[in-house]
């Protein structure tokens, strides 16, 4: 309750940070990204279980994930420009780089790289999903003197 009182008082002095439209776009794309990439190991499993169509779904899924990755990077650039938040861009860039390597490793059949990098990429996107949804995506408030 004390916290609520404090929050109310803070809200009175400066507006509560709210996620801007550019932030919502980034959040949506990150959610879609997570949804799509978790399908990849599923399709890989279907394929190796002896269903040839699993490979097509895995390849299609790779394209979808990659396109979402690019869209997410663009959204992160907008968030950086509009809201001054750079970390979503940096994180999205790392994810897209990993996905590019992952894509090529898959095409090459380099399973020693494709399997661990795939797991890591899913983990990375899950972390990013948490990061963009746990707090409002808004212009960071300049810390007042003595705040640190």
């Amino acid at each position: 309750m004390v916290t609520a009182v404090n929050d109310t008082r803070a809200a009175a002095t400066r507006p509560a940070p709210r996620t801007r439209p550019s932030g919502w776009v980034l959040r949506s794309l990150t959610a879609a990204h997570l949804l799509a990439i978790v399908g990849q190991p599923v399709f890989a499993g279907v394929y190796l279980s002896g269903d040839f169509d699993g490979l097509r779904l895995h390849a299609l899924g790779a394209d979808v994930v990659f396109y979402i990755g690019i869209a997410q990077l663009i959204a992160a650039i907008v968030v950086w420009v509009r809201l001054g938040l750079a970390w979503p861009f940096a994180a999205s860039l790392v994810v897209l780089a990993a996905e590019t390597v992952q894509y090529l490793a898959g095409m090459e059949g380099a399973l020693w790289l494709h399997l661990p990098l795939g797991v890591l990429t899913v983990a990375g996107i899950a972390l990013l999903f948490v990061a963009v949804w746990r707090r409002p995506l808004a212009r960071p408030v300049k810390p007042e003197a003595g705040d640190e």
Binding site: Y47, L120, G124
Partner: protein, 529 residues
Amino acid sequence: MSEGRGLSRRRVLGIGGALGLTAAGWLGASAALSNRPPVTGGELRSAVPLPPAFQVPLPIPRVLTPVDTAGGVDRYAITQRATTAEILPGVSTPLWTYEGTFPGPTIESRRGRPVTVTHRNLLPVPTVVHLHGGHTPADSDGYPTDLVIPESWGNSVHTGHDGHVMHDPRAVTSDLTRDYTFPMNQRPTLLWYHDHRMDFTAPAIWRGLAGMHIVRDDAEDALGLPAGPRELPLMIADRAFAADGSLDYPSIDRTLRTKPGVEDPYVAGVLGDVILVNGAPWPVCEVDAARYRLRILNASNARHYELEAVTEDGRRLDLVQIGADQGLLAAPITHATLPMAPAERHDLVVDFAGVPVGGLVRLVNRLGSGRTAEVMAFRVAREAADDSRVPDVLSTDLPEWNRSQAVRVRDLSFRAGRMGDGHGWLIDGRPFDPARTDVTVRLGDVEVWRLIADVHHPVHLHLVGFRVLSRGGGAPLPHDAGLKDTVSLRPGESAEIITRFDGYRGRFLFHCHNAEHEDMGMMANLEVV
């Protein structure tokens, strides 16, 4: 205040750094621990000193003389017997052989002229002969339970994968001898015959039960390809030698009588550390500075090769592929290197004309390491005239099947699994059972099969040749050209093949030709009705 509620910059960097290090560390570990390229089995180490490469002259297996050619049929007799041979210089090695030699004698046949081979089994175990790549009626195709029982076998029963009696009501066994008749109504090519006994194929081939069989016709003879002494059949096989000179093989039951299978480290396949060509270790062959036709068979149980011909100054000679498993390509294909899975055959022309007299051309294996990176060598001995040629059009009779002709598409998975109480290799989740029909096709039907592998599996169909339509969802590789009977799937890879099931009704097989996988369940029945 925002940092007070959330994470400090230092902590964010710390967590990020830890995640980054974890990722980089494990990816590095994967790169370091993984076999790149992947290996296809456990490698045995020979316990005897190995000879230097390129000292032993290349032997050419003798061509078997028919015992009778009356009535338009060539009749041959082959005795299967144990013997001892000097494979490594100064080392005496017991073998199981066809006619006393390893490889067995080569059978030369003509397209459309039937061959009957009477096999007599003087070995201590039952045997059955399969002509790999033969377009053969079911009763002569060497079904794994159609055993020829030797006199010494007595009343022993044949046991299955897990030690239980494997009952096959359709098995046709015979005592001591059996006639195999091959109509030879098929494209000219290099075939090979080998033992195909249920559960014990791999150790039987390892001990020496393999030989070559060539089919020819007038059209191929008229092409002007290198011929006679400039045509070399080359059977490549890896082996390992125990301290007593015998061929080392990690069978659970070294007598090959009751319990099948290999020791655990070798369930993925058995690899040897000695590369034999026509039964000689890393041999050398004297050649003219001219074109040679190399008819290469990978008769190894599990070892894959990627062949490359290299001169002493590091120059790579073109491998001009003129034929595949099931005969001539439509047109020659030039390869720099050529991968080769167990049971595959490549028909190649290599031109030694540009090599100086005295020069050595090594046939190397880019998938090998240490001594297994060498296969054999050619010593260019003399200049010579060469009237051979490689025509731009090699054949016009390759079957062209379209997807639209296919009446059925089947998905078949080849992967590891449990068999009985041990490790096995399964097709569509099931180990081989002779009493179960896995796939039924109608005579004359065209089908597309989509084969999916977890690790390397060279998949072989009996009775028919096929075309490779796609690999890994994309275009076939250059060496998938022509008519195949064995397609080499790589880890996680799939291939689509198309064929027409024609010729003969009856019970046939398809299986992985990693011979250890084949013995550990990766085989299935193909019923043509």
